[in-house]
Structure formats: structure tokens, C-alpha cells
């Protein structure tokens, strides 16, 4: 399993996420798409930190390869926060407009 395997998987996930975000007519589906994108990013982080080890993270004989993982953990936390806020906003919008279709929420239309 080379690095490129992981990269290909993550780019497919990413594209699918983008697709969902672009085309879906339900805000929650869009959220799912965003989750896909975030997952692909995390996968990338971990993969890169596994395969590419910068020189400065080798101290003595020990090799540190955890940076990517920790960033991924932070990413997961962010995803959680984002999901919470997103859903709260969706609820508020739903109360206000009675719908969560993004094309119906166009108060900012010029």
C-alpha cells in the first residue's frame, strides 16, 4: 500500500463531498458532504505523516510520526464543533423559513 493509494481514495472522497455540496437540495445532505470532505482531509494528513517523515522529527533514534495524527484529531474535534453549529443554524433557519432548502433561503439576493 503506497502513499498514492491513500491519496487516490481521499481525492475520490473529496470529489464526492464536493459533488454533494454542490448538488444536494437538503442542508443536511450538504452537511454530510462536508463530512466527507473533512474525512478525506484527515486521511491525507495521516497518510502523509506516515509516509513522509521530515528530517527534524527524528530525534536520536526515535522517529516521531504523530503530527498528522494529532492534526487529524483536531480535525475531528473541529468537525464535531462544526456539525453542532451547522445543525443549530439549520434549526434556526427551519424555524424562520419553514424549509432547509438552500435555494429557498435567499434573503441576500441582490
Amino acid at each position: 500500500m503506497s502513499l498514492q493509494h491513500y491519496l487516490v481514495i481521499s481525492s475520490i472522497l473529496f470529489s464526492l463531498g464536493i459533488f454533494a455540496v454542490l448538488t444536494r437540495k437538503n442542508a443536511i445532505s450538504i452537511l454530510m458532504g462536508i463530512e466527507l470532505i473533512l474525512n478525506s482531509c484527515n486521511l491525507n494528513f495521516v497518510a502523509f505523516s506516515r509516509f513522509i517523515t521530515p528530517a527534524e522529527s527524528i530525534v536520536g533514534s526515535e522517529v516521531f510520526r504523530f503530527d498528522g495524527q494529532i492534526i487529524a484529531i483536531f480535525g475531528i474535534v473541529l468537525a464535531a464543533a462544526e456539525a453542532a453549529v451547522f445543525l443549530a443554524i439549520i434549526l434556526a433557519i427551519y424555524r424562520e423559513f419553514g424549509s432547509i432548502r438552500p435555494d429557498e433561503v435567499d434573503t441576500l439576493k441582490g
Binding site: 481514495i9 473529496f14 443536511i28 486521511l43 509516509f51 434549526l91
Partner: protein, 172 residues
Amino acid sequence: MEFTLKTFIFYGFALSTIASALAVVTVRNIVHAAFALMVTLFGVAGLYVFLQADFLAATQVIVYVGGILVLILFGVMMTSGRLEMRIHIERGQLLLGAGISFALLMLLLTVIANTPIWKNLTDDGTPLSPTTERIGQLILNEKFLLPFEVVSVLLLVALIGAALISRKEVRE
């Protein structure tokens, strides 16, 4: 590349991830989509295991599957009032979206294929365990302490914010 059990499992995970992700974006029933997303997340967790990130994999399962997915389902319930919710997609938008995402995918693949230093980097199989201890040290004791604190505050703020936004407006 030899075709071992390990490889086989890897491809299994990879394919199930991609397939379920495809389902997430295509299935019309939003509840089904959510279940498909669950499979995707499990798949990614499996891939983490292959990358020697066992702690991360566990986190992925707990937070994503146990937390975020449940949250999404709640959202579905509270906004639609019923579990099945049809998703309409306009044709033009669908095509344009597909085109753009495909173009992006192609671009990314070209980049992946054409970047020389990424070629032929194979896993040397160095074990990283115990990852949990190292991650704990790094987060709570070493160079990630400050980001950790910042992120925790961020999470707190997000939670309060979410609670504030979603509560019913009290008219005075």
C-alpha cells in the same frame, strides 16, 4: 505488489468506503444516506488502522459514528418531522455539479500521479505503538499543548453558540 490478506482487506476497506460515499451522495432517502455515511466513516477508520493510527481510528468511530452521525439524524428528525425525505435534484445543477467534481477529481489524480516524490513510497511497516501514550504526551505535555487548549475553548464556544442559536427565541 504481492496480493496478501492484508492487501485484500485494505482494498476491501477502500472499496467499501468509496462505494458507501457514492451512496451518500446519490441515495435519495436522506436516512439511507446517513447510514451510508456511517459505512464510509467505518471505512476510513479501517484505513487509519492500516496507517498505524489505532487511537485515531477509535476516535473516528466514537466521535463520528457515535456523535456526529447521531446529531445528523437528530437534525433530520427535527427538520422534516418524518424520517423519509425525498431529495429533489435539478438536472442542470446535477450535471454541472458532477462536471465540476469530476474535473476536480481528475485534477487531483493528475497531481498525485505527477508528483515525483510521492511515487513509490511504501509502508516500511515500522510499528508506532503505543500510539495512545505518545499522543497523550504530545497533546498534554509537549508541543501541542497550546493548540489543544485553543481547540478546547473553540469547542466550548461552538457548543454554547449552538445552544444559543437553536434555542427558541424568548419574546419579551
